[in-house]
């Protein structure tokens, strides 16, 4: 059963088409990731799903109900983690959770919630006094206190250090095991690859691919890449002629060789280096990732915005 059905969603700001006829479905119990660079339209799509923005056209159904017509009742069934959100100054975490609980018909006890998200030692503190990881746990607890059937997260790990990010991933995996359906946006390739059951790759307001991460990567037909730097610049066509190299690329100081036979290409590259006047350093052998899928489909990396 589809928890979210989005059909032909469009949103324009003045002359800018932020979302161009986007359609997708989120199935019950899955984590659905929307992966794309900054400015791709991820937050706009989510804000339309959250009822914060009205689409220019298209339809959104959540749990089979039209969102526009059933906004308030659907808010009782959805938990939302915004990319940036604030909580009242001068309020403690316990008071803030109590306030949010008052908006819903059925909620879990704050003590149980605090225990689950390890917030007990901080209940008397204000939001400002929490560290990044504590804040994220509180934000998640506030989004889950009414036991929603769907959790929508907009870039939940943005700005968090790697340790905190991984702990949040563990929490989200636990929630999925409990049967919670989740939709999350991210511009971190590894986040989508680790967490999402299915990923929609979004670029310039369009979904360019949508499938399981492993299938998307396998669709490339390229399994490995050699990445390195060279002390003395070299013409990429020279590297492309090495045995096993499918394509060679240079991005500023980093060289990138795509290959299906990494062991042969690596040996040939090191042989080539012996006769070259420059030295190879920072050499890495990498498996193909969603980043490569994105690059192949859009012609630019996840870190850069499309030039318009």
């Amino acid at each position: 059963m589809a928890v979210i059905e989005v059909q032909n969603l469009k949103k324009t700001y003045g002359k800018i088409e932020a979302v161009k006829a986007v359609s997708f479905e989120v199935k019950e119990g899955e984590i659905f990731g929307v992966l794309g660079p900054n400015g791709a339209g991820k937050t706009t799509i989510l804000e339309m799903l959250e009822g914060l923005r009205r689409p220019d056209s298209g339809q959104i159904n959540i749990f089979g109900q039209n969102l526009a017509k059933n906004l308030l009742s659907l808010r009782n069934r959805c938990g939302i983690v915004l990319q940036h959100s604030g909580y009242f100054e001068y309020l403690t975490i316990r008071e803030a959770l109590g306030l949010f609980a008052s908006f819903y018909e059925h909620t879990v006890a704050i003590a149980d919630l605090a225990e689950k998200f390890q917030l007990e030692p901080f209940l008397h503190r204000t939001y400002r006094e929490l560290s990044g990881g504590q804040r994220q746990r509180f934000v998640l607890a506030a989004a889950l206190l009414h036991q929603p059937d769907l959790l929508i997260l907009d870039e939940p790990t943005i700005g968090l250090d790697p340790g905190v990010r991984q702990r949040l991933w563990d929490t989200l995996m636990d929630l999925r095991r409990d049967g919670l359906t989740m939709l999350l946006t991210t511009h971190y390739m590894e986040e989508a690859q680790i967490l999402a059951d299915r990923v929609a790759i979004l670029d310039d307001g369009r979904i360019v691919a949508c499938d399981r991460p492993v299938r998307l990567v396998n669709s490339l037909g390229v399994v490995s890449r050699l990445q390195f730097m060279i002390s003395k610049p070299v013409n990429v066509t020279e590297l492309e002629n090495l045995p096993g190299v499918i394509m060679a690329r240079r991005d500023r100081y980093t060289y990138d060789l795509e290959t299906n036979t990494p062991e042969i290409t690596l040996r040939e590259l090191l042989d080539w280096e012996k006769h070259y006047s420059g030295k190879i350093f920072n050499l890495q052998v990498k498996q193909a990732t969603l980043e490569d899928v994105f690059l192949k489909l859009t012609g630019h990396s996840l870190k850069e915005r499309r030039r318009t």
Partner: protein, 247 residues
Amino acid sequence: MTALTTVFLKIFFRNRRAMFFVIFLPAALFLILALLRFEQVFRLNVGQNYTDFLLPGIVAFAVMQMGIYTVAYSLIDFHKQMVLKRLAVTPLTSGQFLLSQSLARFIIALIQTSLLLLLALTIFQTGFSWQIVFTPLIILVCTIIFLNFGSIIASIARDYEEAAPYTAVVGLSMSFLGDVFFPLANLPQWLQNFATALPMKPFVGLLRYSFFGMGKGQLLPNLLILLCWLVASTLGAKIIFAKKAYR
């Protein structure tokens, strides 16, 4: 909604600066101006002293200040800190948010007014008429009107700099054309007519009736003007706040 009203009250009473400006500053202003005794400067009604003239004006001034300045700036803060956006994705509607704000501000206005009346009673031995029982109702209506003004300003302006000219225009026109610090009888007739159409002068007029039983003849027109402002400002605030700020 009760929980949100309680939260607004907690936030207010934990914010010492807000307490100073909303509760203590109007009281200090009242004491200073009342002690200056401007009876000789302004032409007042026969038998009326300046303290009696000033008291309803200062009560109305304090309610207006809180509604326009404090509410506008705190809503701008809530908007910038993304508090409104977080609330907007819960089942709480923009109307419920504004109503909770109104209830909290009404309670604060009652505290503010009680302090001013207590000062008048104890220091200046002011005597009040029985109509003072209507004061909470008048305060409630006018708190909502001025809070609506503050909400509209906060929804249109994106930051303090943008809000400042709006609050200044509204606040100053209410203060100087509101029969607050001096009688408007000295002003040209057209300006007096204009002042009557603003909510401040009818508000002060109703308070004068409530405190001292004065101006019974103006009771109905004043009530009608305030009711018009109540309906218009509530509709305006509900629409503009929901569209521009509560999202």
